[in-house]
């Protein structure tokens, strides 16, 4: 439905330097899809969003919506609405007039407008707040007003620019689920911008990981988490352990590899050859205390409620290994000698080193 081809945007800094905010970005978004643009600040995700909404002109490339080129279309002519990070509610208008704004400027008559406004307010659970001023609402309520205002004109595509970043943790998690449910009910595509990987994994059909104006990887949350393409994606999506290994020998289905310090790991043998250098990823939850595996000492532990994160120094030396286990009576204690067991099949090998 939305098709971005070769999007390029170069900013000139006040000092005269050039910053590439978007570098040949290609992206397709399907009908009814929830796509998240994820990346650290300055990665170009907001620039990409603003190029779609029309507030940023591209230096190259095209943006097409259902086949129609949007590049020359002013923001107010695009069938796309945005939920802004700051909500951008109009302080001099009531909540109801805020929500009905898109209809007001299109000349929709009062009766139809009022009906749709009350529907939209009901959708976001603010039925009796219409006569208030935005300043009289809580942060979460303002967020909902911004949402109601953005969906009332039934856009083909809704853009959300870090809309949850100002909310506290509980409310944010609740809104994540609500947004996902709302998207399914409205049946329109959402493009959601965030720097919070957990948020991205929770809500999205597909995640677009960006860095320095480029797309690093596009995939379902599961693909991104389990099969990150490179070190950047691996480290950006969740906590992880990365091992730089050299393959020692192949034994049947398993390849035996070791780090520079001498810690040994077993990997699936498929595609591996002797002497090859590989970068392996083992997520903290894939490791658990067992009878054999990587030998080491528990250096410290962090209690997280249901989970316990322990940091283990390998016997052979090298970086501490992060392990997530369930807390309990037999949980490892600081100073314990421990063996970290894992299933070699879950080890993921990165494409780049």
């Amino acid at each position: 439905m939305l098709e971005i081809r070769g999007a390029r945007r170069i900013f000139t800094t006040p000092e005269g330097g050039k910053v590439t905010a978007l570098d040949r970005v290609d992206l397709n978004v399907d009908e009814n899809e929830f796509v998240t643009l994820l990346g650290p600040s300055g990665c170009g995700k907001t620039t990409l969003l603003r190029a779609i909404s029309g507030f940023e002109m591209l230096d190259g490339g095209t943006v097409r919506l259902e086949g129609a080129d949007l590049s020359k279309l002013a923001p107010f002519r695009r069938p796309i609405n945005t939920v802004f990070q700051s909500y951008a509610l109009f302080g001099h208008m009531s909540v109801a007039r805020n929500v009905g704004y898109a209809l007001e400027v299109r000349g929709v008559d009062r009766a139809a407008r009022e009906r749709k406004v009350s529907d939209a307010l009901e959708t976001v659970g603010l039925s009796d707040m219409g006569s208030r001023r935005p300043s009289q609402l809580s942060g979460g309520q303002r967020q909902r007003v911004a949402l109601a205002r953005a969906i009332i004109a039934e856009p083909r595509l809704l853009l959300l620019d870090e809309p949850l970043s100002a909310l506290d943790r509980n409310l944010r998690q609740q809104m994540q689920l609500e947004l996902k449910a709302l998207q399914a009910r409205l049946g329109i595509a959402f493009i959601f911008v965030t720097h919070d990987q957990e948020e991205a994994l929770t809500m999205s059909d597909r995640v677009v990981v960006m860095r320095e104006g480029r797309i690093e990887q596009i995939g379902t949350p599961r693909e991104i988490y389990r099969h990150p393409r490179n070190r950047f994606v691996t480290e950006f999506i969740g906590e992880t352990n990365i091992f730089a290994l050299t393959v020692d020998r192949i034994e049947g289905d398993l390849a035996r590899a070791r780090t520079a310090e001498g810690t040994c790991l077993s990997l699936p043998a498929a595609g591996r050859s002797r002497g090859e250098a590989v970068t392996a990823v083992l997520r903290p939850e894939s490791l658990h205390p067992g009878a054999e595996g990587i030998a080491g000492t528990v250096m410290r532990s962090v209690y997280l409620g249901s989970d316990l994160v322990i940091f283990v120094r390998p016997e052979a030396g090298g970086a501490e290994i992060r392990v997530t286990t369930r807390d309990g009576a037999d949980a490892p204690m600081t100073g314990d000698a421990i063996n970290l067991a894992y299933d070699p099949a879950v080890i993921h090998i990165l494409e780049d080193r």
Partner: protein, 294 residues
């Protein structure tokens, strides 16, 4: 205990300004209020007996003679108010687009422009008004230039016209309108403008429905600051207005300095003040209504 100490500190800090305003503002004001109800002295000054004809005269009855009704002073007052309104309107029209433009300039250019706005304050108002006199007079720069360019044959009557007075007032008042407007426009949240366009409002709709209401506090602030001194101003009409351009401020000046009728001058002052106060109250009420920012 802490609260008690705070209030002592606060008292010490506020005392100088309170005393200053009390002695040099409230007391003179009180004197003017009392004088406005006293009988004018034969050779200036006052006689201490109650006299309501000071106000009667303003509203059109000559001293003690109810039969003759000629509201010449009211006319002058209304003309002054009209000039004040015109000055405000012209300043507003001039400053709003410029303030918008300046707010979008890069930091350094913006600071330079604000310096330019403040520049006139570095020289005397009288000197600057006499400069206008030289520009506007029949053999002045403007007329000479227009004649030299063959746009006009004869010098046009510019000086000592109402237009010259309004021009002078606008010239004097522009910085006072510009600064509050600029502050309001500079404070305007860009994302509100984007939200409006995003929701389908074109540029005109966005201006009328979002930008203008959001900058109302600045518009009202600037208008009040320009209106009040404009109505009472006597320097500009004195220099550029001539005899025909008499405004209520000149009237007060005359009563105190040449006619030596202090009670009548005081009554006129009280009237200007109450009119201006009424305008101010109206404006603040309106500003409070508009000020429901999120």
């Amino acid at each position: 205990m802490a609260l008690r100490r705070d209030s002592v500190v606060l008292g010490v800090l506020l005392a100088p300004v309170t005393i200053f305003l009390g002695v040099f503002f409230l007391v003179p004001l009180l004197i003017i209020a009392v004088f406005s109800f006293l009988t004018p002295g034969l050779y200036g000054g006052v006689e201490w007996s109650f006299y309501h004809w000071n106000y009667g005269r303003i509203f059109g009855w000559a001293d003690g003679i109810e039969e003759i009704y000629e509201p010449v002073y009211l006319q002058i007052l209304f003309r002054s108010l009209a000039f004040g309104v015109l000055t405000v309107a012209l300043c507003l029209v001039l400053c709003y687009p410029v303030a918008f433009w300046v707010a979008r300039l890069p930091e350094r250019a913006r600071l330079f422009f604000l310096f330019l706005v403040a520049l006139p304050f570095f020289s005397s108002l009288i000197v600057r008004l006499y400069a206008w006199l030289l520009i506007l007079k029949p053999s002045g720069v403007l007329n000479e230039t227009l004649i030299a360019l063959h746009i006009i044959r004869e010098p046009i009557e510019l000086l000592y016209t109402p237009a010259a007075v309004v021009l002078g007032m606008v010239y004097v008042m522009v910085p006072f309108m510009f600064l509050p407007l600029y502050a309001a426009i500079d404070n305007l949240d860009r994302s509100l403008v984007e939200a409006s366009m995003d929701l389908g409002a074109n540029r005109r709709q966005t201006f009328l429905k979002v930008i203008l209401p959001q900058t109302i506090p600045g518009i009202i602030g600037g208008s009040v600051i320009v209106f009040i001194p404009s109505v009472g101003n006597f320097v500009v009409p004195d220099v550029l207005g001539g005899a025909k351009g008499l405004m209520v401020g000149n009237l007060v000046e005359q009563q105190f300095l040449s006619a030596r009728n202090w009670p009548f001058g005081s009554a006129l002052s009280m009237l200007i003040m109450s009119v201006v106060l009424a305008v101010l109250l109206l404006a603040t009420a309106r500003a409070r209504k508009a000020g429901g920012q999120a």
